[in-house]
């Protein structure tokens, strides 16, 4: 049942290849590659039912339920403080839940912490590399925690360093690495035990655009190899790039669930017109825009018109004699979904 896999890029023995169609096709299981078993047949690796975590009176996670089939790339999208990290910690078996049920590979992390964590690779929000050890030693030492023998670890560490594009840094000190390199090393470290499930908590927060793209590429390769990815993010572009399916979380609750395309279809229009009239005038002009498009959203710095056809909506604006300082027609994104669901922006 287990699908064998290799880590380094270019492996020919990949069995499970997610093609682009699956990712963006929307409805789960609609289009599958020929050798792919149907979604229903994939074993479930994580189930959460009514999962709750309270700190004192505050409910960080407030009764959320979801399940993740093997090989899926599953995202938790939400602003800071939504309860994403707490959920990840409960899955990782490092925080006990207050109530509800949670199973990873059929095991309860509260009672079988070590067994659950043996299945996982974890990339925490804050890097916690051992800065007193060198880059390669970080991998070796971490592998020892899984009881792996040195005969396995030494070649594996070299392989992972190559995967993380850190081969020439193998003997460097950790604090000499850039933020993006540290992040890649943390990911390499999380793969030392060849986990089938990888937890990534805000994997690219704080990285520059180039470093983010390198990381996304590495994660995409893992996904191609059939590793189940669970990731939290507050970046909609990251969620769109990497997630087959995601839940939108706010204040510890699930606001919506589905593939990125599905969510956009259900909760937004096809296109959006962004208009800027200058900070003082956005609100006053909004009333003059009534009736254009399907919906209007007024933000402090801009007005958004949700419409099926953005260009024609923009023409209507012009025909009413309104002259915005700038205008932009774009496709709807998860940001719009979040705005619609919560009335707030993801990143403030």
């Amino acid at each position: 049942m287990e699908v064998p896999f290799h880590l380094p890029a270019g492996s020919t023995s990949l069995r499970r290849v997610h093609n682009k169609a699956t990712m963006s096709s929307g409805a789960t299981g609609a289009v599958q590659p020929a050798d792919e078993p149907p979604t229903e047949a994939r074993p479930t690796v994580i189930t959460a039912e009514n999962l709750t975590k309270t700190y004192g009176d505050v409910a960080a996670v407030d009764g959320i339920s979801f399940s993740v089939p093997a090989g899926e790339s599953f995202g938790l999208l939400g602003p800071n403080g939504a309860g994403k990290s707490t959920t990840m910690k409960m899955i990782g078996g490092v925080t006990r839940r207050t109530s509800g049920a949670l199973h990873i590979m059929g095991l309860d992390p509260d009672s079988h912490g070590p067994e659950v964590r043996a299945h996982l690779g974890v990339v925490p929000q804050q890097d916690n590399l051992d800065e007193e050890l060198r880059v390669r030693d970080n991998l070796l030492v971490y592998g020892r925690y899984f009881g792996l023998p040195m005969s396995y670890l030494k070649p594996k560490a070299d392989e992972l360093l190559e995967f993380a594009q850190l081969t020439d840094k193998a003997k460097s000190k950790v604090d000499a690495l850039s933020g993006g390199m540290k992040r890649r090393l943390t990911i390499a470290r999380s793969l030392i035990n060849e986990p089938r499930i990888l937890l990534l908590d805000e994997p690219t927060t704080g990285l520059d655009p180039q470093a983010r793209h390198i990381l996304w590429d590495r994660l995409f390769r893992l996904k191609e190899q059939g590793v189940t990815l669970i990731l939290t993010t507050h970046y909609m572009d990251e969620a769109e790039q990497l997630c087959d399916r995601l839940i939108v979380v706010d204040k510890g609750r699930i606001m919506a669930e589905g593939s990125p395309a599905q969510l956009i279809r259900e909760h937004s229009t096809r296109e959006v017109v962004e208009l800027r009239f200058g900070s003082e005038r956005n609100t006053t002009i909004a009333s003059e825009l009534q009736g254009i498009g399907e919906r209007l959203e007024v933000l402090p710095d801009r007005v958004l018109i949700y419409a099926h056809d953005g260009e024609s909506a923009l023409e209507q604006v012009a025909s009413r004699g309104l002259r915005p300082l700038t205008s932009l027609v774009r496709r709807s994104s998860l940001e719009d979904v979040f705005l619609r669901l919560t009335g707030r922006s993801l990143v403030d």
């Binding site: 925080t95 067994e115 986990p195």
Partner: protein, 281 residues
Amino acid sequence: MTDGTAREALRAHSPDIAAARARRWGAFYYAEQVLRVMKGYGWSIIMYSVGHPVAYLFAMGVGLATLVDAQGAEAFGGVGYVTFVGPALLVSASVMTATNEFTFPVMDGFKWRRTYYGPHASPLTPQQIAAGHIMAVTLRLLLQSAVYFAAVVLFGAAPGGWGWATILVATLAGLSFGLPLMAYSASITEDKGQFALVMRFIVMPLFLFSGTFFPLDSLPLAVRWVGWISPIWHGTELGRVFSYGYQQPPLLTVLHAVVLVALAVLGWFLTRRQFAARMGK
């Protein structure tokens, strides 16, 4: 695991094996990590382990001894001053090293560089992480005490045949002070200079008023209690029994050992609880 090919010879063992091994050997795995880190500053450790005893034994046992021994040896139960301070210095050094190892590195693990949280995401449990840290430090205390004892022997300050047992006594004393301290370190969430206070208001007084440089009896009763509650005093007295056959009622000897073991066990228990509570939050 159906169709492994030759290229897939490099395979991690299954999660079941990983979990089983971690359950059994997890503490050792973490101890290995702490020792690797120590290796990084191995030179400092060696210099300290050798330099400290030689400097102190020479200054106190040879230099100060000229003043002290001139006044007659009966104050020290008939032995020379260097024989008297030897076990005391050995035990004190172990307690001080334990203090260093169970304060800043613990804070580092939880707060500064969060080094405990990496292994915590692996199959290791918080209790194993605590145990591994303690095992590595215990090893360091043993080695340091062995080197120290060798220096004591070179200064001719361990006439009895049981002197080697002071190595164990010193290690035990280090743990009996260090483990309760470790539990405290693990409970600190904000650094307000607590460790400097521990060093100056607890460790230094214990070092100076534990019958280290003179018998506890020569202090006024008002400060003698510092010695009675001090692991350094219990360790020093026990060490003197082994080192030069210091005469005391056998019951007192047993009491010293019991106090040291009890403190270490209490500290171990509190540390485990504190680690589990803090990491599982």
